[in-house]
Symmetry: C2
């Protein structure tokens, strides 16, 4: 099946302002999702919004999240017959935008907002693939270099999925949009880059000296 190149905008994925920053291209959305591994999961509990950080993986047009069978959103997904309405948001901050005026200060960022319904993943094969994908999303190459989960560990883990259907990206790039009359003010103006970086891997104290730092953790 050939998918359209863009997600269909819906009323809630169409911003009320700064529409030029919204994007619906599948490739753009996938690239933002694939660069991250921590999302913020929103759901409703007792009528109030809850936002929790958690890890995710993208596999095709589906996001997977996981957790203990005892964790609230996972339990509520499992217990609801129809799935749990969720919003999953992934954000990369790329820069602080400093304008001559306080008003035009801004942030360079790329974010994806996914509206959907979380469903429990129960099939053994899909669960195993999702758990591998969750490890791979954070550290590509790692899932083949660990002990796979045993039956007891699998029983303690819930996996949920959210389909990528109602999805939008939002992107701001570039410098400040100063007012023409502010250009001669004596305030510095420009962008301070912001990035998330990984440091040098620190082995546990009891690691066997025969185990080297794997290539997939190579830095620099």
């Amino acid at each position: 099946m050939t998918r359209p190149a863009r997600y269909e905008p819906s009323e809630r994925t169409t911003p009320t302002r700064a529409r030029h920053r919204a994007a619906y291209d599948r490739a753009v959305v996938h690239a933002i999702l694939d660069e991250g591994w921590v999302c913020h999961l929103g759901y409703i509990r007792d009528g109030a919004p809850v936002v929790l950080p958690t890890i995710y993986a993208r596999v095709g047009e589906r996001l997977y999240l996981h957790g203990s069978t005892g964790s609230r959103p996972l339990r509520e997904t499992a217990e609801s017959g129809t799935g749990l309405p969720v919003c999953v948001t992934v954000t990369h901050v790329d820069g602080l935008v400093l304008a001559r005026s306080a008003f035009h200060h801004s942030v360079n960022y790329r974010s994806v907002v996914v509206h959907g319904t979380a469903r429990s993943v129960l099939g053994e094969e899909e669960r195993a693939a999702a758990l591998d994908a969750l490890v791979e999303q954070a550290v590509a190459g790692r899932s083949r270099d660990t002990r796979p989960p045993n039956a007891k560990e699998l029983a303690a883990t819930s996996v949920i999925s959210v389909d990528l259907r109602e999805v939008s990206a939002k992107i701001r790039t570039g410098g400040p949009n100063d007012e023409p009359e502010d250009l001669d003010l004596p305030h510095w103006s420009g962008v301070v880059p912001v990035a998330t970086t990984r440091g040098v891997p620190r082995p546990v104290a009891d690691l066997s000296p025969s185990v080297a730092v794997p290539a997939y953790l190579a830095t620099g």
Copy 2:
């Protein structure tokens, strides 16, 4: 007034699992909030959860958020007589925790979850202080080195506040919790540090050569 040193745990700020990772100390919560400037704001729109990234500032026991008067959560806060139920979450990712087993992989992080009600900030003085605080939270020292907002800009900006009352922090630190029987497996185990860093400030092309990089942006 002397405040208690801890936020009072509520049913929804008490985790169902990993309770040892929860913290309610005001100093701990403030430190996590003060290190960040981007939060994820959750609210309910048409019965469904929405999670959006936005910037925030902490002033005492209050968070401030802002945006265009046209943005949805701000408009909905302004239009509701009783305020908008929100959840504001701030997360710092500190490390990837790689265990010998896939199951014990984890993330070192510090997060704060604030449950509360967003209210429109209408007083001129509090609004001005909040807008300064939003600039200061991201770049300390900057608010005094910009052109302050004029009447038109102030009229286009909504400010909302959320009191820090129902608040909890969650913190994971340290290495992997490998099972004793896994210690001899030939898989690397340890922590890959993760950090958010700022790069060298990049001035706009039309910046007057007489404007140097300010001391508050000094790197290294």
